[in-house]
């Protein structure tokens, strides 16, 4: 009797622990989107991702209330030539840090639904391979302002 009553609890606890171990934890640091000239249909968003979990994970997609679509892009500069291309994922090794920054990997905001406004943060949803999705309030930063402001 005792065994049969505690079994479901034990099972639940076990499942919870298992689920907890399987979920990678992703910390998002300092997200921001770039203010662009009003007629520009595109912008880019940058942030730092830290996988604090014990399992590898990946950023596999994103969306924004500010744009028709959001794509993962990488850039590489060699011999004065910049190439940009779309990728399907940004890998986040366990304990690793991945920086999306100006001049490097970034989230491309395509088809802005309205000009970005420094007074109005946008909402960015990040989808991961394992970790739960996260919706962030992302400030719009004016690239002309001094760094750090």
């Amino acid at each position: 009797m005792t065994v049969s009553r505690s079994l479901p609890y034990g099972l639940c606890l076990g499942l919870t622990l298992f689920a907890g171990a399987a979920l990678a934890e992703i910390k998002v640091i300092e997200p921001w989107a770039r203010l662009q000239p009003p007629s520009s249909p595109m912008s880019a968003a940058f942030l730092v991702l830290e996988n604090t979990g014990a399992e590898p994970d990946a950023l596999i997609g994103a969306s924004c209330d500010c744009a028709q679509s959001v794509e993962l892009h990488v850039m590489a500069e060699t011999d004065g030539k910049m190439t940009m291309r779309q990728v399907q994922r940004f890998d986040l090794p366990a304990g690793g840090r991945f920086e999306l920054k100006s001049g490097g990997p970034h989230l491309m905001l395509i088809g802005l639904t309205a000009p970005l406004d420094p007074a109005k943060p946008v909402h960015l949803k990040l989808l991961f391979g394992h970790a739960p999705e996260q919706t962030l309030e992302v400030p719009v930063r004016d690239p002309r302002a001094p760094a750090g402001s």
Binding site: R34, Q36, P37, P38, S39, S40, P41, M42, S43, A44, Q68, S69, E71, H73, M75, E77, G80, K81, M82, T83, M84, R85, Q86, S102, G103, H106, M108, L109, I110, G111, P143, R144
Partner: protein, 192 residues
Amino acid sequence: MFARPLVATSLLSMAVAACGVVPATDLAPLPIGGDIELTQAGDKVFRLSDHGSEVKLVFFGYASCPDVCPRALSRVSQVEELLGPLAEQLLAVFVSVDPERDTPDHLAEWLGFFAVRGVGVTGSAERVAAVAKAYGAFYEKKPSGSAMGYLIDHSTYLYLVDRAGRVRHLVRSEDSPEAIAAWVRALLAEPS
């Protein structure tokens, strides 16, 4: 055979970078470039040779470019700030390699947004290609599955052009605004 001078040069540039000193650069004219005749805002003809009283920074890009081009414009804007009143003798020339999507008016808005004293120019695909070829600038349209339709890989150099219209230096993206301002000053100090 070339390894030792290369190492010495690298060490020197590292030392220079560490001291925050702008390196002396050979600004001898390069065998590239030439006059540019394209269209600017208001459907007016732009000729580089009409700007003989200014030093020019010519660069190739496109307005849908979300990062490289804003960065280039921000740098030019920083250079202008460093130059102070001399900035009136510097003209940025943004050549769009995407005439399909960019209009000169659109480019003018970009320059205005970054408060850059400059002009945005473009033209037919053939004319733009001829200008890019003369400057040795690379660009390539890359069809993609992206919602952007296509992306454009392109040169990131800023071409430093003197008052006589000769290319004097290829400014790389790692060159500081201070270094660029020093080169512009050097060219402005030359007898015109």
